[in-house]
């Protein structure tokens, strides 16, 4: 049993990271913590792909002179390079948005932002009463 689990060790870590990340995204009200969760969630996928690319007994996919060398699959690594770039862009954009949210709402806690939004909604209706703009 333990040996079997050890053999799929990487996949267990993938599942753990995935669940931790997704749980943080859903459960945290703090926007920065949400973004941390999102990054962990995305990282779990990077590990998933890298693990898929591993061929038992294979070496790093760098061309050698030996004719019958067994290589690991390099394609998932390349795909994940792309996904890492996407992840960085997502995090950067998210952090930039959090800065702007902090500037205009004065908070990065979801419930406080919601309260501020409800105030804005009430202000809209008051401002748009007939004749108010005339």
């Amino acid at each position: 049993m333990l040996m079997q689990l050890a053999a799929i060790w990487n996949y267990l870590i993938v599942i753990l990271l995935m669940m931790v990340g997704l749980f943080l995204v859903i459960s945290r009200a703090n926007l920065v913590k949400k973004l941390v969760g999102l990054s962990i969630f995305q990282t779990s996928v990077f590990l998933f792909y890298i693990t898929l690319g591993r061929v038992s007994g294979g070496t790093a996919p760098i061309l050698t002179d030996a004719p019958d060398t067994l290589y690991s699959n390099p394609l998932p690594h390349v795909l994940i390079l792309t996904a890492i770039v996407v992840g960085v862009a997502t995090t950067a954009l998210g952090l930039a948005l959090i800065l702007r949210i902090r500037e205009s709402f004065g908070s990065i806690e979801e419930d406080e932002i919601l309260a501020a939004k409800n105030e804005s909604a009430a202000a809209d209706m008051a401002q748009a009463k007939p004749g108010a703009e005339a």
Binding site: Q42, V86, T90, F105, A128, E133
Partner: protein, 503 residues
């Protein structure tokens, strides 16, 4: 190089040009500080894509299917762009609406966004458009993920641009970023599973190998993750929660662009996954459409409609109504008969015209009023801004599905397709929801036209730069309501290509 050579190059590279023209112009536009020039280049970029899409449509109508190998790498090793009847119809609809939204954008964005941000805004606009076109054109499962993220990140930027007028745009943008990223990551997990068992990423090659494998836990997991991820992007109920705020608080021109093309691209991908990629495992796709997609679409239709009935803010109301309309499209795909899939394509086109037009009109009102458009500020606006209000009413009646409008054709073909399946309960539900949608439309139309404007309310100036593109779209709503033969024929061809194992 002479002209003949250039035209030949243009024609040979059509599938990739639809995507590349907007994407390559984006960095050019980003460094331009003159808003008018940035806008002109954007119009040229999206217009170029529109032209390429029209040519592609005429090619697929005569020969059926065009492929393009990026960098001349043979598939399945290289990335392939595949355009068949379904792809080219979706592209024509998307590029066309994006083109008119871009024409319209200048005056509307001027009034809602800081002028120094306009260049960057157009850059994000081009990236979002190009990314969405790429989503439809690509024949590679991982490349699809990249386009998904290009379009999502640039859409978030566009939505957040609404912060100048309303700070709630920021949190709407953030929510879309997080939910969209989770959706895209789900998709990419699914691709990982499918890649693990097939060793390929080319969609046509994947479809063939999945048919050979025929089942297994990894395949089903991959299927579930991919479909769930794309449903988030397509805003199918219950993962639509990002949509109302995102469309409601984005600048009006952005709402018009995204409502017309963004979810349509994701719905197209959903259909591609169900009917092309996983066509070889009919047991699981049938399970998914019968027990997941059809019930969720119906739930979305009612939730969206009821939310719209209770909403007082016009843009949020239209966004809730979009959730319902997405439900109709997903329902057509879910029933999976050739007639219902064709009806879905008809509605993809018509709903793009309807919602594109409605958001354009709301942008006109917002620009003139200088405040948010809601039921209180709409009192008597029909008399104060007759040109815009009439176009709004035309598109609104089309949304409700009145005869002689495009919306009627959609409902007609959808209801016919459902009846042909013998699903009387679903037919009744669709008709009931259509009747309910009249409530929220009538609510707006009554306030606009039947109530007198407040005393001393001045007549508001209407800007031709806003109402000319708006009226083009409004007239298209009538045109496709009177003579739908082209759209219906193209949609039937699209359904045939999609269900016939297309790629």
């Amino acid at each position: 190089m002479n002209d003949g050579g250039l035209i030949a190059i243009f024609l040979q590279n059509l599938p990739v040009l639809v995507v590349v023209i907007p994407l390559l112009l984006a960095p050019v536009v980003a460094i331009i500080t003159a808003p008018r020039l940035a806008w002109a280049i954007s119009v040229a970029g999206v217009g170029g894509a529109f032209l390429a899409a029209i040519l592609l449509q005429s090619i697929t109508e005569s020969i059926g299917r065009v492929t393009y190998h990026l960098g001349n790498w043979e598939p399945p090793w290289g990335i392939e762009f595949v355009v068949d009847s379904a792809t080219s119809l979706t592209l024509v609809i998307m590029t066309g609406l994006a083109f008119f939204a871009t024409l319209y954008a200048r005056a509307s964005l001027m009034s809602e966004i800081k002028h120094t941000d306009l260049g960057k805004c157009y850059a994000a606009w081009l990236l979002a458009s190009g990314g969405l076109f790429g989503l439809v054109a690509t024949g590679d499962a991982f490349n699809l993920f990249v386009f998904l993220e290009i379009s999502a990140l640039s859409s978030v930027i566009l939505i957040s641009m609404g912060a100048g007028a309303d700070r709630r745009a920021l949190s709407a943008g953030f929510n879309y970023l997080v939910i969209g990223a989770v959706g895209a990551t789900f998709y990419v997990i699914g691709v990982g599973f499918v890649y693990a068992i097939t060793g390929t990423l080319n969609i046509a090659d994947l479809a063939a190998r999945i048919a050979d494998i025929g089942g297994g836990a990894a395949l089903y997991a991959g299927f579930g993750f991919m479909i769930a991820g794309i449903m988030v992007k397509a805003a199918v109920f219950p993962v639509h929660i990002w949509l109302p705020a995102a469309y409601g608080y984005a600048p009006s021109a952005v709402s018009s662009l995204l409502a017309a093309i963004a979810t349509k691209a994701a719905l197209y991908v959903l259909a591609r996954l169900l009917f092309t990629l996983f066509a070889g495992v009919p047991d699981i796709t049938e399970l998914a459409v019968t027990y997941v997609i059809v019930p969720l679409s119906l739930a979305g239709i009612f939730v969206g409609t009821v939310m719209a009935i209770y909403e007082k803010d016009i843009k949020l109301l239209l966004a809730h109504s979009s959730v319902a309309q997405i439900g109709y499209i997903a329902l057509g795909f879910g029933l999976a008969s050739s007639a219902s899939v064709a009806a879905s394509f008809v509605h993809i086109g018509n709903h793009a015209l309807i919602k594109g037009g409605l958001f354009m009109a709301v942008g006109g009102f917002v620009a003139a009023l200088g405040s948010r458009a809601n039921l209180a500020s709409f009192v008597g606006i029909g008399r104060r801004m007759p040109i815009t209000a009439t176009a709004f009413t035309v598109c609104g009646l089309s949304l409700a599905g009145l005869p002689l409008t495009a919306g009627f054709i959609s409902k007609l073909y959808l209801v016919r397709a459902i009846l042909a399946e013998g699903a009387y309960v679903i037919t009744a539900l669709v008709l009931l929801s259509s009747a309910l949608s009249l409530i929220y439309l009538w609510k707006i139309i009554e306030v606009m036209w039947m109530q007198p404007a407040p005393a001393k309310a001045p007549n508001l100036a209407e800007n031709p730069a806003i109402y000319v593109p708006l009226w083009i779209v409004a007239l298209a709503n009538i045109w496709f309501g009177v003579d739908a033969s082209w759209l219906v024929a193209a949609s039937r061809a699209a359904a045939a290509a999609l269900l016939g194992g297309g790629l």
